[in-house]
């Protein structure tokens, strides 16, 4: 119907249509739909020999993915992504409130500082984090220095190579993705709504509970999605900061494609991850909608 309307107009607008809509369409088909389709097809295939893959539409890979071993890793991935999201949310709120309160010219500087880590490669940032957290790292040295001055004995703390390290890394990387949407939501907030609530007898906590939080819920939701989804599929951080059992689902998938050379099974695990992610978002949206009405 849309194209009908365009065709009804002159030839010129048709060209405009082609020029503006064709490139993104081709882009999407080539780099999103086609790869996903290939993965879908692979996930129903079977490995034959060392390098050949036979497309024979079997569910075997999915049954294998339902093994408790992999379900556990899925659950752990969700747990770590969820904890990361929650921590980002808890840390972001005071930060955002502080940013909205400071003077205008400082706001810009703080926001630029928040964006600054994006200019540095993720790998380098992660190694920097290792330098901070390792047994002889900056954090432990700092503690040791303080302890020495207080005349206490200090045993270096093992921060790295466990789940906590993964969470610290993920929170550090994803914090700006939570702060920026919430900031956007709070910055344009109508002050008079707060004043009206206060005028009607709300304490400042109640103003936030009854007025501010419900109204910026979409921004918070966007922030949670921007943190949760990448955290769920994170690969580098658990690989570098996690312990021997610190495998998340992305690492398992990577291993299937590379070391195990089992593309069909890796494809099935990828598809399960996509389905589950979509499912979680759908449930989340439904709950949010139910709450509003």
């Amino acid at each position: 119907m849309l194209s009908d309307r365009f065709r009804a107009k002159n030839e010129n607008s048709r060209k405009v249509f082609l020029v503006t809509f064709l490139p993104p369409t081709i882009w999407l088909i080539l780099f999103l739909f086609a790869p996903v389709l290939i993965i879908v097809v692979y996930s129903f295939s079977q490995k034959v020999g060392l390098i050949n893959i036979e497309v024979n539409w079997v569910m075997d890979n999915y049954w294998r993915a339902a093994d408790p071993l992999y379900l556990k890793i899925f659950a752990k991935s969700f747990y770590i992504a969820g904890t990361t999201t929650f921590l980002c949310l808890v840390i972001s709120f005071p930060v955002v409130l502080a940013i909205t309160k400071i003077r205008q010219n400082w706001k810009l500087i703080i926001l630029v500082l928040l964006m600054l880590p994006f200019w540095i490669n993720l790998l380098i940032r992660t190694y920097a984090l290792i330098a901070v957290l390792r047994t002889r790292g900056f954090l432990n040295s700092g503690f040791e220095w303080i302890a020495a001055h207080l005349g206490l004995r200090f045993e270096p703390v093992q921060f790295l190579y466990n789940d906590t390290a993964i969470i610290i890394g993920l929170v550090y990387i994803h914090l700006p993705f939570m702060i920026l949407p919430i900031y956007a939501g709070l910055e344009g907030f109508d002050e008079t709504l707060k004043q009206a609530a206060e005028d009607l007898g709300s304490s400042s906590m109640q103003v936030y509970r009854h007025i501010v939080f419900p109204l910026i819920r979409p921004s918070v939701f966007a922030g949670c999605m921007l943190v949760f989804i990448p955290a769920l599929g994170s690969y580098l951080t658990p690989e570098l900061l996690g312990g021997t059992d610190g495998q998340l689902i992305a690492n398992v998938i990577e291993r299937q494609f590379k070391h195990a050379n089992d593309w069909p099974f890796g494809a099935a695990l990828s598809m399960v991850l996509i389905y589950v992610t979509c499912g979680v978002i759908a449930v989340w949206l439904l709950v949010a909608k139910r709450k509003k009405s």
């Binding site: 109508d190 008079t192 709504l193 004043q195 009206a196 609530a197 206060e198 005028d199 009607l200 007898g201 709300s202 304490s203 109640q206 009854h210 007025i211 419900p214 109204l215 509003k292």
Partner: protein, 370 residues
């Protein structure tokens, strides 16, 4: 005379060294529809916010019903505000908006329901309680904002330019509606406005404000008839203003020499002027006429008369305004306003002709020049 409900004592507010409100003293009696009138940026909204507790005064006190409000935060003052932008909570239904304050007070659902229904009746929104704010018109939102404040049964309702966001026709209706509701409920209203017509037609008492200071506090008619200074005279309605010096003072009559016109006029004045005081003679356009109505009673003069040239006639429908210029071109022309029911005013004057402008001695107000 009982103690005033609200009194402001030396209330001041400065923002980064700029004085927005300077030493305001005001008293508002119970049940009054009190107006604070002034041009935008005169500090009237700041004054209102200080009464509400939403703005901290730099100096001075707000006393409500005998209690100093300085230590009382906004959420515990017996005051509710109708905001200029209405500030209706967009995520709550109309009913939830109106009952928000009562719920915080912990009023039970039975009484809550009843009071909301009563209030909907008062503001004429019955049957809309399940609506959402984005389904309401500007006028309806205005009523919701009013209901939300009134239902709290505060000692004072503060209204910040409540009609400014409405279109002209709706504003006219809401004007009378507000006055009706205020008289019905009997709660004291303090309303801030920049619209002098609004102020004159709605309020019991008006405080005119300019540059952070109160210029005059009076009933609407006195404000119009007896302005205390040139700002009030010009801000409320339009005014003709002639500069002069007091030449002679005798039993309520003050003779003023108009230097620019080289002519003496007489005005009644209750203020005590001294000879050679500089004064401004303020005359409302409708008090000027072209007719000679000298009463031949005793030998005293009963009208003032100046002569000039008719520059322009502007037809407004019910009335026409005439601009009369003087020989001295630097002087501002006089504005004369006449009803159009008179055949003579329609036909009798031609632009460029010589006219005599007259006014009765009691029509002018003398204002000291500081």
């Amino acid at each position: 005379m009982s103690a005033p409900l609200i009194s402001l004592q030396g209330l001041s507010k400065s923002f980064q060294g700029n004085d927005a409100v300077k030493f305001v003293d005001l008293t508002v009696d119970k049940g009054e529809f009190y107006g604070i009138l002034g041009p935008s940026g005169c500090g009237k909204t700041t004054l209102l916010k200080m009464i509400a507790g939403l703005e901290e005064p730099s100096a001075g006190r707000v006393i409500i019903d005998g209690l100093d409000m300085s230590p009382v935060p906004a959420n515990r003052r017996p005051v509710n505000t109708v905001f200029q932008s209405y500030a209706i909570f967009p995520h709550m239904s109309l009913e939830d908006n109106i009952s928000y304050g009562l719920k915080l007070k912990g009023i039970g659902s039975g009484e809550l329901k009843k009071r909301v229904l009563d209030m909907l009746d008062v503001v004429d929104l019955k049957g809309l309680e399940r609506r959402w704010p984005d389904q309401l018109s500007g006028g309806q939102l205005q009523r919701v904002a009013l209901a939300r404040a009134l239902i709290m049964q505060p000692k004072v309702v503060l209204l910040d330019e409540p009609l400014a966001a409405l279109d002209a026709k709706l504003r006219e209706t809401m004007k009378y509606e507000l006055v009706k509701i205020q008289k019905e409920i009997g709660i004291t209203f303090i309303m801030v406005t920049h619209d002098q017509q609004e102020a004159l037609s709605m309020m019991d008492k008006i405080a005119v404000m300019n540059e952070g200071r109160i210029q005059q506090v009076d009933q609407p008619n006195l404000l119009y008839e007896k302005p205390k200074n040139l700002f009030v005279a010009n801000f409320i309605g339009s005014a003709n203003c002639l500069m002069g010096r007091v030449a002679k003072v005798e039993k309520g009559r003050t003779h003023v020499m108009l230097a620019d016109l080289n002519q003496e006029i007489i005005a009644f004045s209750c203020e005590n002027f001294k000879v050679s005081d500089r004064v401004q003679v303020i005359i409302r356009p409708e008090k000027l006429t072209f007719q000679d109505i000298e009463l031949p009673s005793n030998h005293e003069k009963t009208i003032n008369r100046v002569s000039g040239k008719l520059l322009e006639i502007i037809y407004h429908g019910g009335v026409s305004t005439f601009r009369v210029g003087f020989k001295n071109k630097n002087l501002k022309p006089l504005i004369v306003s006449q009803l159009n029911d008179d055949q003579q005013t329609k036909d009798g004057y031609r632009i460029g002709s010589h006219v005599e402008v007259c006014w009765r001695l009691d029509a002018a107000t003398l204002v000291p020049v500081i």
